[in-house]
């Protein structure tokens, strides 16, 4: 081994060995110098980071482990007037995902499909697409619900397999639950997921922070109108977390301020009765206390279950609601526009009296029809042979059309518009709902704008019996009668019991367009308040008089009621035709209306009934009005409880 080269002698070998060792050692020494230089560089680097920049990194380290997690406030509950819960918060378990915590190496779709298979989730491919879409467009740190209402088995299975689903977690949630399902939908509304548009709206109003942890918000009805009150104020949790987002410990907690509970003026028993009475009819029932405007029942039929919207309505279900020919989504109390028909007559009388067109003693001959001077067009009375001589009381009692044709013609549309506006037609009622349409109280101006035509006297005549261009909502109609019973005092129908408090000036921004009169103001000022009494007397006779159209329906009541029927034509009947319900299509049949109040002397309830396409108001709507009043005053014991002595006398 020593003599591995035989060319050299011993000395040469030894010299070469030394030379080679020296060469190597020199190279090694140079390398060591390089090593030392690098070590110094390393030390300087570490010194810079750990000693010189220590403060800055320490601060960043502290920031790093502290995360602010918003806590959603529990939403205020909604009760009926007797404390029955209408909108509850139910604890449920939900699988959600936080986009920023997802494993970037696993496609989200694979995870979702795996999850669906594992837990046997009831979501279809379209729903998975929707979740992926939402992940793409929402904030990275905001949780997105994958599936809710997990069973205990599903929770157990997920917990065991959670390590396979990074970024997914099971969270206990409070979800809105409406125990009465479809009974109160149109008044109560519902909450549903905050969507892109809501988010933009929240950001525009500077509310986004308050909703940082909130998933649902009010989308309809009271839930929407009082969103700011029901929602509460977001809380925060300062937590130490790891980079997966798991909370290690809570450092500081700012509790959320829960949303305020709201009690509604609705009596759920009356509401249920109203829905029951509507049955399969399209229509609406509105009952309120005329003394204060509290709405006791607010029913619109057909209705639907708002819980669908809370859990996330499926596309199919929503299409069904949208395309349903009976249009369940329409709020028939405050959004549906209908001809008020004869129910308007007592109110028109007030105008006639105040304008001096007639007095309580004026006699009028009601023939079979009415014609304008110099015209051959016949405005028919509902009774082919007319009614003969009458005063205003009898005109209301028998619902004489020609009397009111004459009144309308003599008042003129401008006066009608003026008076009916005072009674709230075509005006915002002030109700605490956004779903209110103003319907149409026609005027000369309106016709000019709409049809580019001049208003002619022929347009005015049918207005006198609540037909023609005139449409109202049931809400406006009932409110007008409430104002009548209160002798012109303004009535604001409302659903929240603390309406006055909840709708102080600062809250009126809720609906800036809605400029309604304050409750303390007088709505209708007339020369003598006896004019209202005359209108009410007419309504008394409708129910109690010998010829009253509502006398059959109200026979034998234990209280004194008053009311007015209305039958609104949907199609024009030609001059030489008779209306024949059996001969025309169901959707062209008359709408039945009835407005009633009781007790006559001191009204505590005004109820309005509207039934679409059934026929005459006194035949179809009046019995329902009576049952509503019976339910409230007798069955629920209101009369005995609140008015022990006043109304013992029967007619």
């Amino acid at each position: 081994m020593f003599f591995w080269s035989n060319k050299k002698n011993d000395f040469d070998v030894a010299t070469d060995e030394t030379a080679e060792a020296n060469l190597f050692n020199n190279r090694m020494k140079i390398a060591i110098i390089a090593v030392l230089i690098m070590v110094v560089a390393l030390i300087i680097n570490l010194y810079t980071i750990q000693i010189i920049q220590f403060r800055s990194f320490e601060k960043r380290s502290n920031n790093n482990r502290i995360k602010i997690i918003p806590i959603s406030p529990p939403r205020g509950l909604i009760f009926d007037r007797n404390g029955q819960i209408l909108a509850d918060n139910k604890p449920i378990y939900e699988i959600e995902l936080i986009p920023e915590n997802l494993n970037p190496d696993v496609p989200l779709k694979d995870s979702l499909l795996k999850l669906r298979e594992l837990l046997n989730l009831n979501i279809d491919d379209k729903d998975i697409e929707n979740i992926i879409e939402r992940v793409r467009f929402s904030k990275k740190f905001k949780s997105i619900s994958v599936a809710s209402k997990l069973t205990e088995d599903q929770i157990a299975v997920f917990s065991v397999n959670q390590y396979n689903f990074k970024g997914f977690s099971i969270e206990p949630k409070l979800k809105r639950f409406y125990p009465f399902a479809d009974t109160v939908t149109h008044a109560l509304g519902y909450v549903s997921r905050i969507n892109q548009k809501d988010q933009e709206m929240l950001e525009a109003h500077g509310n986004a922070e308050n909703y940082a942890a909130t998933q649902d918000m009010g989308k309809l009805g009271v839930e929407k109108y009082y969103e700011d009150i029901l929602h509460g104020k977001v809380g925060y949790k300062e937590v130490e977390v790891d980079s997966i987002g798991r909370v290690v410990q809570t450092l500081k907690m700012v509790q959320p301020v829960p949303g305020k509970d709201i009690s509604l003026t609705i009596d759920i028993r009356l509401q249920q009765k109203a829905q029951e009475l509507l049955g399969t009819n399209k229509g609406a029932i509105l009952m309120l206390d005329p003394r204060n405007g509290e709405i006791l029942a607010f029913a619109s039929n057909p209705t639907y279950d708002p819980n669908m919207f809370v859990r996330g309505i499926l596309n199919k279900e929503y299409q069904e609601l949208l395309n349903n020919p009976e249009r369940p989504l329409i709020n028939r109390v405050s959004q549906g526009g209908y001809s008020p028909a004869s129910t308007i007559k007592p109110i028109m009388s007030v105008m006639g009296l105040n304008e001096g067109i007639f007095t309580a003693k004026t006699r009028f001959f009601g023939g079979p029809h009415y014609s304008l001077p110099g015209s051959t067009h016949k405005f028919r009375d509902w009774r082919k042979w007319g009614h003969g001589w009458m005063d205003v009381f009898r005109a209301i009692e028998i619902s004489c059309d020609t009397f009111f044709y004459d009144l309308a013609f003599k008042s003129g549309i401008d006066n009608i518009h003026k008076y009916m506006s005072l009674f709230g037609f075509g005006q915002p009622s002030g109700i605490d709902l956004f779903e209110e349409s103003l319907a149409n109280l026609p005027s000369k101006e309106w016709k000019k704008n709409k049809y580019h035509q001049v208003w002619v006297p022929g347009d005015t005549v049918p207005i006198g019996i609540g037909q023609g261009y005139w449409t109202t909502t049931l809400l406006q109609l009932v409110r007008a009668h409430a104002i009548l019973t209160q002798h012109g005092r303004n009535i604001i129908p409302h659903l929240a019991r603390d309406y006055a408090d909840l709708n102080k000036e600062e809250f009126l921004i809720r609906n800036p367009k809605q400029k309604y009169k304050k409750p303390e103001e007088t709505a209708v000022k007339v020369k003598s308040s006896s004019y209202f009494d005359i209108g009410m007397r007419g309504m008394y006779l409708v129910v109690n008089g010998p010829e009253g159209t509502g006398r059959k329906a109200f026979a034998g009541t234990k209280y004194v009621a008053a009311g007015k029927s209305g039958t609104a034509q949907i199609i024009n009947i030609k001059q030489d035709q008779r209306y024949n319900a059996a001969a025309i299509k169901k959707e062209h049949r008359d709408n039945a209306l009835f407005v009633a109040f009781a007790p006559y002397e001191n009204p505590v309830a005004v109820v309005g009934i509207l039934l679409e396409n059934v026929g005459g108001g006194s035949r179809f709507a009046a019995p329902i009005a009576r049952q509503m009043l019976d339910e409230y005053l007798i069955n629920l014991g209101y009369l005995e409880k609140e008015l022990p002595s006043a109304e013992k006398e029967k007619k």
């Binding site: 081994m1 020593f2 080269s5 070469d16 030379a19 080679e20 060792a21 060469l23 190597f24 050692n25 190279r27 090694m28 390398a31 060591i32 090593v35 690098m38 070590v39 560089a41 390393l42 030390i43 680097n45 570490l46 010194y47 980071i49 750990q50 000693i51 920049q53 220590f54 800055s56 990194f57 320490e58 960043r60 380290s61 502290n62 790093n64 482990r65 130490e240 977390v241 790891d242 980079s243 997966i244 798991r246 290690v248």
Partner: protein, 366 residues
């Protein structure tokens, strides 16, 4: 009795000075790994088993005389190259790179084996001639280095490729390559780098370099690792946050904290002082190895031990440099501290060879 023990120990061919340094590092390894793994007993158990296995490997390697390595060097080189080809053809894909060869029972990385085989082969190649090496031999050596390195780059595993080519190049340097050639080689490399960048680098490798140049530019994705590790190190300060108290690691802000980024955990918990202690142990081992190589008896032994020593330093420098933001992030573990069996065994094998070089020459007398 005592004599007998000493005799047995000396027959083991271990270098006790080096052993002290290695065991010190292994002890530190257990301490910091316990913290970095989130006090995971499974990880600890596995690491202890691996460490014992690694020590046995070291003893075996130390027991074999250097001539065995020299003799088997060409065979080892060819075998490794073939295995690398196999990896490319049938390899197991892990984290986007094919590095593993699944042999049924064990999965292993031929590229790790090459970290030992490459310096042995190149040292054996130069040992056939005289030093300083001739230009032609240097050129042939470069080709011998390049073949497996290209295969490793194709896997792709840039970190390992760099380390292996470095270990080979160290031998060429130590064999006395002309300084002018070294300079011009450096120049060529500098010119080649952009070409490599544009034609041969994967996006994730490019990204690492881009992120290295400005980690703050992309704090949540590509720069995340380096920012988090700098925060960990920096917030350790002079004395550190204390064992098991590193928030960066325990709150899992720090990625790969028990493997490549374990140095950050160490600096966070033990501070600048801890770093200096760790560095001192490394320098102690390196200087002991330098001493061994400078006292080696043959060119093969000199070149081999010298290359292994300098490569070991490169491991330390590249890992600490990348974790502290001095170098780009390449997947190089911190020797003897990072969790992982393969790198541990490779290193102890290398130390075994160095010990063999030191403990066999007295007896054999060349």
């Amino acid at each position: 009795m005592r004599k007998k023990v000493i005799e047995i120990l000396s027959n083991l061919h271990l270098d006790f000075s080096l052993c002290i340094g290695i065991f010190a590092l292994m002890g530190l390894n257990f301490v910091i790994l316990y913290s970095a793994s989130g006090e995971n007993p499974d990880v600890m158990q596995q690491q202890i088993v691996r460490s014992i296995f690694a020590i046995i490997i070291m003893m075996v390697m130390a027991y074999l005389p250097p001539r065995v390595y020299k003799k088997w060097a060409p065979f080892g080189y060819v075998l490794c190259t073939v295995l690398l080809l196999c990896v490319l053809l049938f390899g197991h894909v892990g984290k986007g790179a094919e590095r593993w060869l699944n042999l049924g029972i064990v999965r292993f990385q031929p590229s790790e084996l090459l970290k030992i085989v490459m310096p042995i082969a190149i040292a054996a190649f130069f040992a056939k001639g005289k030093l300083p090496a001739k230009l032609l031999s240097c050129f042939v050596a470069l080709i011998l280095i390049a073949i497996p390195v290209v295969l490793i780059i194709m896997q792709p595993d840039l970190g390992t490729a760099i380390l292996i080519s470095i270990s080979g190049c160290f031998i060429i340097y130590l064999a006395g390559l002309n300084w002018y050639l070294i300079l011009s080689g450096t120049l060529i490399f500098a010119l080649y780098a952009p070409i490599h960048w544009f034609f041969f680098m994967y996006d994730y490798q490019k990204q690492r370099i881009l992120t290295f140049l400005n980690p703050e530019s992309d704090p949540l994705n590509k720069g995340y690792n380096i920012i988090q590790s700098k925060i960990a190190i920096g917030s350790g300060g002079m004395w550190g946050k204390g064992w098991l108290n590193g928030t960066q690691s325990h709150l899992q802000f720090l990625p790969e904290r028990h493997t490549d980024f374990i140095f950050a955990v160490f600096c966070e918990e033990f501070g600048f002082v801890g770093f200096l202690v760790l560095l001192a142990i490394y320098m102690y081992i390196i200087l002991r190895c330098v001493y061994i190589s400078m006292n080696a008896q043959t060119n093969f032994q000199r070149l081999l031990s010298g290359s292994l020593t300098l490569t070991f330093f490169c491991y330390v420098f590249i890992n600490t440099g990348m974790v502290s933001g001095l170098l780009p992030v390449v997947g190089v573990p911190l020797p003897l501290i990072s969790y992982g069996g393969t790198s541990l065994i490779t290193l102890t094998a290398a130390f075994g060879i160095i010990m063999s070089i030191h403990t066999h020459h007295k007896r054999n007398n060349y």
